[in-house]
Amino acid sequence: MSYRIKIIVAIAFISIIMLGLLITNRITLERTLFEDKMLIKVDSLGEIFTEEVHNYSIKEKHDNILRILDLFDKQPGIEFALIADGKNIIKYSSIRELINKPNFIKDSENIRKSKNDVFIKSFPLHAGDSGLKYVQIGFSLKEIKADLRKSFFLSLNISIITLFLVLFVAWLISGILLKPLIEMQKNADNIANGDYSKRIPVRSDDVIGKLAFSMNNMAAYLDDLTKNLNKKIQDATRELEITNNILIKKTELLEESNRKLTELDKLKSEFVSIVSHELRTPLTGIIGFAQTILRLKLPKEQEVQYLKIIETEGKRLGKLIDDFLDISKIEAGNFGLHFEDVNISELVKETVDSIKLSHEIQIKTNLPDKILFAEADRDRIKQVMMNIIGNAIKYTSAGGKIVVELKDFDDSINISIEDNGPGIKKEEYLKIFEKFYRGHDNITKKNIGSGLGLTIAKGIINAHKGEIWVESESGKGSKFSFTLPKKQKKNE
C-alpha cells in the first residue's frame, strides 16, 4: 500500500471519528434543546390547562371541562388529557373509554429516558370540593424524534460529503506534500545507480526542503568525489601505462643489449678461433722448416729456399698480428689516428710508385690538375690504398689493368681503384667488408691475406668520416671507391 493511500486512510479514519463526534454532539445538543423546549411547552400547557380546569371546576361547569379537554386534545402534540380524582378514578378524559375507571397510566419519569413516543406528566389540581386531584397530559414525542432523525440524517449527509471533500483535499495535499519525497526517492535511486548528476528542486524552507538541499549536497559531493576518483584512477592508470611502456622498452633494450652481448661474445670466440687458426698456418711453416733444416741434411740451395719461406711466413705472421691489432682497435672504436694536412694527390702517386709490379699487370693513375688536400692520417690512408690495390693485383690475372683515379667533389675527395679482374657478385658487396670474409674464388691461400684487409680499410675510412663501397660487374672487374672529407677551412 502506497504511503499516499496510508495517509489518506489515516486522514479518513480521523475524519470519520471527528465527524462522528460532531454528529453525536450535535444530535445530543439538539435533543437537549428540543427536550428543554418540550418541557417548557409541557409545563406551560399543563399550567394553562390546570388553570382552566380549576376555574371551571370552581364554577362547577363540568361540561365545559370536558369541552376544554377535547379542545386541548386537539392541540397539536397532545396525545391525550385526563383528569382524575383523589381515589385515582378518571373523571374526565379525551379518551372516553377510560372515564370512571382507575388510572393505570403512569407518568414518564424523564423525558430523556422515555422510550415511548408519548411523554406523560401529571399536574396537581386545587379544585376545592369537586374532588378532582390532578390533570394528566400525554404529549407526543413523534415530532421531536422526527426532527431529531431529520437533523441526524442531514448531519450524516453533510458529514459524508465533508468526508469525501476531506479525502479529495487530502489526496491533493498528500500529492503536493509527497511530490518532493517521491523526487527524492527517485534521485536516491539514481544515486544508488551511480548517476550523481540529477538535482531536486528545493521548493520550501521546511524539513523536506532541507532534506532536498542536503540530498543535493550529498549528490554533488558524491559527484565530485567520483569524478575526482575517476580522474585519479585515470591518472594512475595513465602513469601505470607509461611506466609499463618504459619497462617494456627497458626490457626490450635489455634484451637487445643482451642479444648484442651474446652475439659479441660469439663473435669474439669465433674471432679468437679464427685468429688462432690464422696464426697457426704461418707458424707451421716457420717451425716446420726450421726443424727440417736442423734435422735433414739438405743442399745449400734448398736450405736457402726454406729459410726464405721462414722469412716470408714470419713477415706474414707480423702482418697478421698488425691486422688483428687494427681490428681490435676498430672494434674498440679507438684508432688513435694522427690527423694532418695530407696532399692526397702526392700520396696516391707515392703509393702507386711503391708497388712493385710483375710485367703482366699494368697500373695507371688518373689525377686531376688541382692538387687535393684532406685532413687525414697519412699512413692509414696509404694502408687503405695499398690494401685495395693489393687485392686488385691478387685477383687480376696476367694482362690485368688497374686504374687509380682521384676526383674532386664539393666537400669530399673520391679515390677509386678499378681493376679488370673476375669482379664481385652483388650479394657480396657488403659481405666483403666483413671480418674474415674471403671471396669464393678458386685461388690458393698463397694469394689471400688474413681476410681482414677490407674490414680494416672500412674501419679506417669510417674513422675519417668517409665512405667506402664497391661496384662491380661479374667477369669484367670491380671498382672500389672511398671518400675523404676535404680539409676543414678553419680560418674561414
Binding site: S273, S276, H277, E278, R280, T281, L283, T284, G285, I286, I287, G288, F289, Q291, T292, R295, L296, L298, Q302, Y306, I309, T312, E313, R438, H440, D441, N442, I443, T444, K445, K446
Partner: protein, 121 residues
C-alpha cells in the same frame, strides 16, 4: 715398394714441408693443392695414406674425407687431418667424416712421420 702418400693442402709451403720430410723418409709423395685435385688424385693414384688439410676453398677437407669414405674403392685408405683448428667441433667433424687421425698445426715434422709410420707399416 715405397708407400704412396697423397698430400692435399692449398698452402704451398705446408705441402713443400710435408713433401721434403716424407721423401726424406723414403715415401713416395703425390701433391694436390685443392679438394677437387685431391679427390681426382685419390681415384687415379690409389695412395696408401692421405694427409688432408681441413680448410680449403670450395671443397674443404671434411668433404674430401667424406667422399673418400663413401667410395668403396677408397674407403679403406687412412686419412690424417691437418688442422689449424684444435677446436673440439672441428675434431668431432673430422671423426664424423671418417678419420681417426689428426695433427694440429703447427706440428713437428718428426711427430708426423712417426704417426705416418704407425699407420702404414
Amino acid at each position: 715398394m715405397n708407400k704412396k702418400i697423397l698430400i692435399v693442402d692449398d698452402e704451398v709451403n705446408v705441402v713443400e714441408l710435408l713433401k721434403v720430410n716424407l721423401e726424406a723418409n723414403k715415401y713416395n709423395v703425390i701433391t694436390a693443392y685443392s679438394g677437387e685435385e685431391g679427390l681426382a688424385k685419390v681415384e687415379t693414384e690409389h695412395p696408401d695414406l692421405i694427409i688432408l688439410d681441413c680448410l680449403m676453398p670450395n671443397i674443404d677437407g671434411w668433404e674430401v674425407c667424406e667422399n673418400i669414405k663413401c667410395n668403396s674403392k677408397t674407403k679403406n685408405i687412412p686419412v690424417i687431418f691437418l688442422t689449424a683448428a684444435t677446436q673440439r667441433e672441428d675434431i668431432e667433424r673430422a671423426k664424423k667424416s671418417g678419420s681417426d687421425f689428426f695433427v694440429a698445426k703447427p706440428f713437428d715434422p718428426l711427430d708426423l712421420i712417426r704417426k705416418v709410420k704407425k699407420i702404414i707399416k
